[in-house]
């Protein structure tokens, strides 16, 4: 089998949620051996995300439910959480209690065998554990050590707390993404672009660390504030503020020059229920120029209104955008969104359906390219997962590890990677430093979910 791009690279992963696991999962997809280190006394945060009390609320509550097969937690819920499983294939896990001195020593031995270390805990968390970059790089001067909290390891916001929505509010994204006709910023329910940008940037940084080390023999500490990889993604809007003093605000689904919109198609009227259950049909249509306008009008059969002077050129169409939207909506409401999608694309007009989740899994293009991966995991069963985002011609990427179950790779990591003897392992297991020690889910909720962190 062809060597994978990052084969032979070992990554120690103490990431918690979203951007961190995304970064290490990508390195795993590219062939690195990624070892996630969990604490044997509590669930990894990503597997516990949305864990709420009482237990019932996480299965039935609105707005933040956790994905479990059949909505059943099972005996080991941490292995059945979709959040965790989504990013835990091509990764390994082991448990070490780094709160205990013996655990720190074992962890440092693991770091000595690693090329890359990545974590995205709170800005000071890893230092408070006594495992800051100085300690780890002393243990392994060739280490590429990436700390990636939201705002980096310096500055007045360094310790600011919040979820993605909070940080993106500070970063301007909330202000720039709502409905223009609402009197307040409304919409960042759960879509945090900083996690997308941060994951990609961290993966790039880790690989650049390897390149740098190959040239110089030295490791590198990287202080990565995730938000700083988000700003360039809407860089021109911030530059408009700095260069022209213009404070842009949201234009919703509109474009600065083209006419475009998201139009309701044949199907149910949108309600809270359909926003939850899927089934609404929407189409996005963009008309950049006269050629696309002509293609659009042809598909509609050139009705009388399309010949109105108001819609005769790029400028007049933009000027009469609201009225144009009304006409388009009247037409789209009579058709299914996939039908419109194919009809318009045939005439060279950029258009596409708004997928609900069923549409995503059924998409003809993704399936023709074999995008989804069917993966099995003993505690949760067999499902289709989003797969590799790239296709390499000479070193095709492949699944090297099913979604890992917590502690699944303890033996391999303890013995073959760290080199612990059977006696050492027995001793450390006796001290609850290593091993599979998760609490009994059927019992009372663990203290830590309640305590003030």
């Amino acid at each position: 089998m062809a060597k994978l791009p990052l084969e032979g690279v070992r990554v120690v992963d103490m990431t918690v949620i979203w951007a961190g696991p995304f970064a290490t999962h990508m390195l795993g997809m590219l062939g690195a051996e990624v070892i996630h280190v969990a604490n044997p006394h509590h669930m990894p945060d990503f597997a516990a995300l949305f864990t709420r009390w009482p237990e019932q609320s996480q299965l039935e509550g609105l707005g933040g439910r956790a994905p479990y097969p059949g909505r059943k937690l099972g005996e080991r819920p941490w292995n059945r959480n979709g959040m965790w499983n989504r990013v835990s294939w091509n990764r390994l896990t082991c448990s070490i209690d780094v709160n205990k001195p013996e655990g720190k020593e074992v962890f440092k031995r693991l770091i000595k065998e690693a090329d890359v270390f990545i974590e995205n805990n709170g800005a000071n968390a890893i230092e408070h554990l006594g495992l800051g970059h100085d300690v780890l790089m002393e243990a392994n001067p060739r280490l590429i050590c990436m700390n990636m909290p939201a705002w980096g390891r310096s500055g007045p916001y360094m310790n600011y707390v919040g979820w993605g929505a909070m940080h993106e509010a500070i970063g301007g994204h909330d202000w720039l993404r709502g409905y223009p006709d609402e009197d307040h910023p409304t919409t960042n329910n759960f879509r945090f672009h900083m996690d997308s940008a941060g994951g990609a940037m961290a993966a790039i940084g880790a690989i650049m660390g390897l390149i740098h080390r190959k040239k110089t023999g030295r490791g590198q500490w990287i202080d990565f504030g995730q938000m700083e990889s988000f700003f360039p993604h809407i860089g021109e809007i911030f530059m408009d503020a700095a260069w022209n003093g213009r404070n842009q605000r949201t234009i919703g689904n509109r474009h600065p020059t083209a006419v475009q919109g998201c139009y309701l198609c044949r199907g149910p009227e949108p309600t809270l229920e359909t926003s939850v259950a899927g089934g609404e049909r929407w189409i996005n249509i963009t008309i950049n120029n006269d050629e696309e306008w002509k293609g659009f009008c042809d598909v509609l059969g050139n009705p009388e209104w399309t010949k109105d002077e108001k819609f005769s050129n790029v400028v007049s169409r933009y000027k009469n955008h609201d009225e144009l939207d009304e006409h388009i909506r009247e037409w789209t409401r009579l058709h299914d969104n996939f039908e419109i999608f194919y009809m318009l694309q045939e005439k060279g007009v950029p258009a596409g359906p708004v997928w609900d989740w069923r549409d995503a899994y059924m998409d003809p293009q993704l399936n023709a390219r074999g995008f989804f991966e069917t993966l099995h995991q003993a505690d949760c069963g067999t499902y289709r997962y989003p797969g590799f985002p790239w296709k390499f011609s000479e070193t095709p990427l492949r699944v090297t590890h099913s979604p890992c179950m917590i502690n699944e790779d303890n033996d391999y990591v303890y013995k073959e990677v760290i080199g612990l003897s059977d006696e050492e392992i027995a001793d450390l297991e006796g001290k609850s430093v290593l091993g599979d020690l998760y609490y009994d889910w059927a019992g009372p909720m663990p203290e830590r979910l309640w305590e003030e962190k």
């Binding site: 994905p67 959040m83 360039p232 700095a242 998201c262 997928w355």
Partner: protein, 406 residues
């Protein structure tokens, strides 16, 4: 100038618009020698996309182009002409990486597909970024940022009963470029170690579907249970799963808005910030009793309206209660955090002058990220490349220009 991490890397850049140029910008910012090849006479269409400096639609004043092409050198070359192809192939012989984001099939029609180019340079990494990938039933379909947004998580972004919303600006296209960089630099690592070249097919649709954010949750939740976890919902309604009285959502302030996120486990933090309110309720029972929400809101709304968003954020963050200012772009430019980190940088450009640009996201110990030069003027480095590198004479340049090759 100090050595940068990618100083030895040579990138040929046949990209335009956003996704491709952002991919190669990553290489350029970290030191690679990126040669941007633009089509004569008008160049990258991004030069004609606003916003512009002082709203003057000059091809050297596009903010988008200036941002995306920082640290690159640029030549013009007509790849449809035989001479243009010949010059391009000479450049390929010496390159480590080639990135393009034309429509699928364009490179083939030019006779510059990977099969041809790898005969010239077997070590070449060629990354092709396209809307839907190089093959498949949607191969030739057109997209816009909005159309791309629909084929990911737009369904669950916005308010219930209203149309789904895209994110700000051109986020998805930037992200596709960013993801292309991940694959390309991983391939470069393999090339560096094993001498292997290859072709990487990057579909923007796939980079979006493989992304993790709440798609992670919704795609898997759908597969696991036939339901979705996150959906369009007005944040003023709070997150009903929390079922408690802690302030959650968007709140007006003296000068704008703040966002707050509570939840039962955060009540002690809220109570610490407001001991009088905190003393009224026993935790957790009173906090879970929604009958008490009116009292908390009656205090919280006017308290916020009396203060600026920055004051509220600074105060609430002292108690670690999830509260942040909803900032405007100008607020972000002036952010004390980004000032202290030195994130925004000044770059001198011959036409647009000294201006502010987004800076380095990765603070490495060694100076990996540097500003070496502003975005290239159209054809700025023609002479340098064609004469100094490839040995054409100045006379030849005139002929090439007249023939429309450069």
């Amino acid at each position: 100038m100090a050595e940068q991490v990618l100083s030895d890397v040579k990138v040929l850049d046949l990209t335009w618009y956003i996704a491709g140029p952002y991919c190669t910008k990553m290489f350029a910012d970290y030191g690679a020698d990126v040669l941007k090849i633009e089509k004569p006479p008008e160049g990258d269409p991004a030069r004609r996309i606003g916003p512009f400096l002082n709203d003057d639609p000059h091809p050297e004043k596009s903010l988008l182009f200036s941002h995306l092409n920082l640290n690159k050198r640029g030549i013009t070359l007509n790849l449809k002409s035989e001479t243009g192809k010949k010059i391009f192939k000479e450049l390929v012989g010496d390159a480590d990486i080639l990135v393009e984001n034309f429509s699928p099939g364009v490179m083939g029609r030019l006779g510059l597909d990977y099969e041809t180019l790898k005969k010239i340079n077997p070590r070449l990494i060629m990354t092709g970024i396209s809307n839907f990938g190089q093959y498949g039933p949607y191969r030739d379909f057109k997209v816009s940022e909005l159309v791309l947004s629909g084929m990911m998580d737009q369904y669950s972004h916005g308010n219930e009963g209203r149309e789904p919303l895209k994110m700000a600006g051109n986020c998805e296209q930037y992200q596709a470029g960013h993801m292309a960089t991940v694959a390309t630099i991983a391939a470069y690592w393999l090339q560096l170690n094993e001498g292997i070249g290859q072709y990487i097919d990057v579909s923007m649709q796939e980079t979006m579907t493989a992304d993790i954010d709440h798609r992670t949750l919704n795609l898997l939740d759908w597969a696991y249970s036939g339901e979705v976890a996150i959906f369009r919902q007005d944040p003023r309604a709070g997150t009903s799963a929390l079922l408690d009285i802690t302030p959650t959502g968007v709140y007006p302030t003296k000068d704008g808005f703040i966002r707050a996120a509570g939840g039962i486990i955060f009540w002690p933090r809220f109570a610490a910030a407001f001991p009088d309110i905190g003393a009224k309720y026993t935790w957790p029972d009173d906090v879970l009793n929604m009958d008490n929400k009116g009292v908390v809101d009656a205090f919280w709304y006017p308290w916020c309206l009396d203060r600026t968003k920055q004051e509220i954020m600074e105060y609430m963050q002292k108690f670690k209660y999830f509260t942040t200012a909803i900032n405007t772009p100008i607020d972000v430019i002036e952010s004390p955090q980004l000032k202290e980190r030195g994130f925004w940088v000044e770059v001198e450009h011959p036409v647009s002058g000294k201006q502010i640009y987004p800076g380095n996201p990765l603070k490495s110990e060694d100076p990996w990220w540097q500003v070496r030069m502003p975005a290239p003027l159209l054809g700025q480095h023609n002479e340098e490349f064609l004469c100094d590198k490839l040995g054409y004479s100045k006379d030849d340049l005139v002929k090439l220009r007249e023939a429309g090759v450069i």
